[in-house]
Symmetry: C2
Subunit: 334 residues, 2 copies
């Protein structure tokens, strides 16, 4: 590959999603908290899978979904993660490569299988994730392709990496390399339970290393331990150069210095599955920010991408987002 | 498992589908015949997969889809096939077991991987299948669980098995065991190109061993080498105790002795992907015939099941067919 500049380099847990429709009763019976992401071990992954209805397998992983979105919008993303050299690993790599995402995904030949997340979608379109990290536990600082990171205008890191010590080191290595190269570092907080597990270190990270913060309302409130969205938003603004905060159907807010932009949620024909909503919102903003768009224009692209992904089953766009965005923002004259 | 009677024992190629949306131009560029099933080797599977857009993986296989349908309708099916002990094999077995299909699926520890079919769905909802048989090539007569076959009221065999000599032996073994036990033998012709490859032996098989024949219009015309559906239908009627012939949007015909029943296609809200249409039509008829329903009632169940599966992406029902059938046949009074 040439040394052309990249828009975004995503680093994350490389995961294949196993999606199944279920009901609240199933969640209750298995003690699962609706809407949350929970880490499970291999034994539990097996017993939960046995109890689940037939599934549908698609590539997932938070930062990987975001890179898929950036590619679909017409951008130039790259992805760093870890799979095993197995069938799910092959599927994961194929699906990103087919979209034109540049991959730096080492495949282990030994050790645990490619990660999978058992995702239960309830009739209210909420997703409850049960993730077996598998080969992701092998991701370490040595997997960070420094030359690749230097080529990205923005390095985008998912908070989920913070759950494993070596992935955390990989995360910090990527952030340091990006900062040293004068590039921006973006962080997605991933999940309010994840924030809860790592609040102090996330807070330190945001203050010291993060230029662009992505969080939803629950996550940013948990980070700053406040019930007030306004208060959390002001603190996030003070600690970063851009805070991008999503509020589901209430839209989103982008805060940068003295700028404050509110974006309405896109109108939806039908809400099917919220998996990937935050990931695709981030894709729209990252694409916008790396293509010279304003905060408002970038946020609108995020809203359009998020609306597309929640209108169908699965965490990656089915539509060509570049075309969908064009059609939505510039409808043909009658 | 107890020795309770089973409704249907399906024997077929155990395959995981990789579904991708594409366009006519892609088919043309790769020399693919729309609507057909083509066998490909590992090398071609790899190069075609590399050229394909991101996919969605779901369990498939013609007879397996039919057994999934019988289970969803509330019946008691079993399935005999062969996978490798790998991730796709595990997914295949999980998906049937989760529906309550009794499995007799030996998993090879060596040899080729679990079979996959690269299915290209064009905007007209037609599917073009490219199947790498993988572990299915190991299916042989020794895999036929004879006690299981004797327990099934009907043994259902897919024509695709005829493509491999040892699978053909397995097919014949199953048919002989079923016949010797006073059970019925059903055959699905699978694909008009498959009929073309094996016309003479299919014809002999139908005349000598098959009680119930499932075919679509193109397949039955190819079998009897005639352009006249009427002529082909009359020959199929003479050679079997029941001929079940589907004609896509023109509905279906069931012929048995002097009985002749025409079933209209169910009205459709939207046609998305025809993958599995014939398999699910067969499921409705097999369920009906093993539950004391008339030809007309059985055919109607086939039409309802087929309409469900073509209204979404993928070859297996998403709805609970027992409930859907009940709701369609007996709508609540206003």
């Amino acid at each position: 590959m040439s040394s052309t500049e990249l828009d975004v380099v995503g680093v994350g847990n490389a995961i294949v999603d196993v999606l199944t429709r279920t009901d609240d009763e199933f969640l209750a019976r298995h003690g699962l908290i609706k809407g949350a992401m929970r880490l499970i071990d291999e034994r539990e992954a097996q017993s939960l899978y046995e109890a689940m209805a037939p599934g549908l397998e698609t590539s997932g992983g938070s930062a990987a979904n975001t890179m898929a979105g950036v590619a679909s919008l017409g951008g130039r993303p790259a992805y760093i993660g870890r799979v095993k050299q197995d069938q799910l690993g092959e599927i994961f790599c194929h699906d990103l490569q087919a979209l034109g995402v540049h991959l730096a995904v080492p495949a282990s030949t030994i050790g645990p299988a490619t990660a999978r997340s058992l995702i239960l979608v309830t009739p209210d379109a909420q997703r409850t994730m049960n993730t077996y990290l598998g080969a992701c536990v092998d991701l370490g600082p040595e997997d960070i392709d420094e030359a690749l990171v230097r080529r990205g205008k923005i390095t985008y890191l998912e908070g989920y990496l913070w759950d494993r010590p070596r992935a955390k080191q990989a995360f910090l290595r990527a952030a340091q390399v990006a900062a040293a190269a004068g590039r921006q570092v973006a962080l997605s907080l991933s999940d309010s339970f994840c924030v809860d597990r790592h609040r102090d270190s996330f807070l330190e990270l945001v203050k010291e290393h993060v230029d662009i913060l992505f969080a939803n309302e629950a996550e940013v409130k948990s980070l700053y331990q406040t019930d007030s969205f306004e208060s959390a938003a002001q603190q996030a603004r003070a600690h970063t150069s851009l805070a991008v905060l999503t509020r589901g159907p209430r839209g989103s807010v982008l805060l940068s210095g003295s700028e404050h932009v509110e974006i309405a949620a896109e109108p939806l024909e039908r809400l099917v599955d919220t998996t990937g909503a935050g990931d695709l919102y981030a894709a729209g903003v990252l694409f916008g920010m790396t293509h010279g768009y304003s905060l408002a224009e970038s946020g609108r692209r995020g809203a359009i991408a998020a609306a597309e992904v929640i209108s169908h089953y699965g965490a990656r766009p089915e539509a060509q987002l570049a075309e969908l965005t064009q059609r939505t923002l510039h409808p043909p004259a009658l």
